[in-house]
Amino acid sequence: MSILRTTDAEGRRIPPWQLVLRYALLLLVLALTVGPFLWQLSTSLKGPGEDIFSSPPKFLPSDPTLDNYTRVADTIPVWEYALNSLKVASANVVTNCVGAALAGYALARLRYRGRRAATLAFILAMLVPVEGIIIAQFTTMRDLGLNNTLLGVLLPGSIGAMNVLLMRNAFLNLPQEVEEAAYVDGANVWQRFLRIALPSVKGTLAVVAIFAFMGAWDDFLWPLIVLSDPENFTLTIGLNYLHGTFANDERLVAAGTIIAVAPLIALFACLQRFFFRGVGEGAVKG
């Protein structure tokens, strides 16, 4: 990853003025996207003696402290809840990547009667307004005996219709020729899927992984409704306790926010390296 040459992915040099322009634009967008979070971070570091509602607002904490983070951990069992969230989110990544890749491949690459109907089913599923069906989902879960389990939290989103469609789109964009060559060589459908098609869509797979992780990690209402036992609670439910019945401490809320967001940013930073390495390795090249 240590390319310090000023060349782009295609190996061409970039003129210096263009480079300057690029960085200027990048910094501008950076300020717009990250600024609000720095504000939140700054609030979370402000000590009890500092006025957080002063006007005009003060950007830097005068006396930075990690005290608020300790207090969050004292108020709720952050680690246990984060572990639950991690379990659900990781499982969600696996089920979505596998399920969406399989289904997406079937929709894009295989010919069979009913393919249109199957595609339609996924499109319709994506359009269903979730707000209206949550109680019906809960009753189904209870009938399955899965209410109050992490599996119950996982299931409804375990293969997202949108992820299936994303994968379908990625497979559709692959040139036919490569697979046909493999087919002539006698590879069966499973081999073609696993060895040829799948490696070519690593980028999209990484996107699905991120979306799946994020979706499970951020979800609030569904886990709240399915779960009853505090020991099963996920992090988003736990952090909601910081909006107390009796007192709302903005500093704690801010610290909670940062705790919730940090793992996602870290995950994304790791994954995205991977998926850009995967880009050049596509089977398409050959």
Binding site: E10, L25, V34, P57, A118, A121, A125, E131, F193, F275
Partner: protein, 330 residues
């Protein structure tokens, strides 16, 4: 809607791998009996395998999206409430909708939202994706940073923006400093809607940027190289190479963005308040579903009728986008 997969198909054992192709010829593709016919689409597979591939996905969406929605469909014709099982009332709910002022306000706002947000979300993230596509030093950092609004929960994002757009917030302090004066971002019904749209676009930028990045990555680099050899400039290469190469993704983004824009809830709910802005003028359709249908006194039947309308409109939107796609194809 009939589920395309019957449970018996789905649970058929896969261990032997040979569920007898001849027993169900109807399911097999045209290439199956004929063996190799090069030049045709790839179709050589056992007749059941497409279903096996699609089965897990179909079951999950069937059980947890389509089936519950089916009960919503049924409820739309009843007067059911959260704790009171309803009776069949025919089209009463839909008739009530026609005379419900709030319903029309919701339809108007949700439609405006699509018109305001979708063009921005189709174009801006593509430009952003191109900006961060090149491997220049530090780009990994920028990519991750641009993604932060997406990963932050919407509640947090809403709070931050409300705080910034407030009469005494950051933005108004700046506007006053440069002599523009205060702008009532959070008190005027139209400014509120536009502020919410801004937040949607701001939060969506990174999300769609990633989809575009994946698509750009899947674009064979030979195309770019060929165009560069031909001496095409940046703008021309964008229009002649990039746009056609990611067109199907643009269509997908347009479809996703319009569906989620029409179903907007959180941004408006958080910025305009639960009652939907001054006199409820910023209420969107999904907010209305939430307002009338949830809680212990929720009118499930009536809310279901609104859900059905939302569903029908989003299906229409989808068809519209897909149709535009096909026209360009021709």
């Amino acid at each position: 809607m009939k589920t395309p997969v019957t449970p018996s198909t789905a649970t058929r054992p896969t261990a032997d791998g040979v569920p007898g192709p001849r027993s169900r010829p109807a399911a097999s593709g045209p290439g199956a009996p004929g063996g190799s016919r090069p030049g045709r689409r790839i179709s050589r597979h056992l007749p059941l395998s497409p279903w096996l591939f699609a089965a897990p996905g179909l079951l999950v969406v069937g059980a947890f999206s389509l089936y519950p929605f089916f009960s919503t469909l049924v409820n739309a014709f009843t007067d059911r409430r959260t704790l009171v099982p309803g009776t069949f009332v025919g089209l009463d709910n839909f008739q009530e909708l026609l005379h419900d002022e709030m319903f029309w306000i919701g339809l108007r706002n949700s439609t405006l939202y699509v018109l305001g947000v979708v063009p921005a979300l189709v174009i801006l993230p593509l430009l952003l994706a191109m900006l961060v596509q090149r491997q220049i030093p530090g780009i990994t950092f920028f990519r991750s940073a641009f993604y932060t609004p997406v990963v932050a929960s919407i509640v947090v994002v809403g709070l931050i923006w409300v705080w910034m757009l407030d009469d005494r917030g950051l933005i108004n302090s700046l506007l006053e400093a440069v002599g523009v004066g205060k702008v009532g971002f959070l008190s005027d019904q139209w400014l509120l809607l536009m502020s919410a749209m801004t937040v949607t676009v701001w939060k969506g930028l990174g999300y769609y940027m990633i989809i575009y990045l994946a698509a750009l990555a899947n674009v064979p680099r030979e195309l770019h190289e060929a165009a560069a050899v031909d001496g095409a400039g940046a703008v021309r290469r964008f229009l002649t190479v990039t746009v056609p190469a990611v067109r199907s993704t643009m269509v997908l983004v347009a479809a996703l963005a319009s569906v989620s824009a029409f179903k907007v809830f959180s941004e408006v709910y958080l910025m305009a308040g639960p009652s939907g802005g001054p006199a409820g003028e910023d209420t969107t359709l999904v907010m209305l579903v939430q307002r009338v249908g949830t809680g212990l006194t929720g009118r499930v039947g009536y809310a279901s009728a609104i859900s059905v309308v939302i569903f029908v409109v989003t299906v229409g939107l989808m068809l519209l986008v897909l149709r535009a796609d096909r026209k360009e194809d021709a």
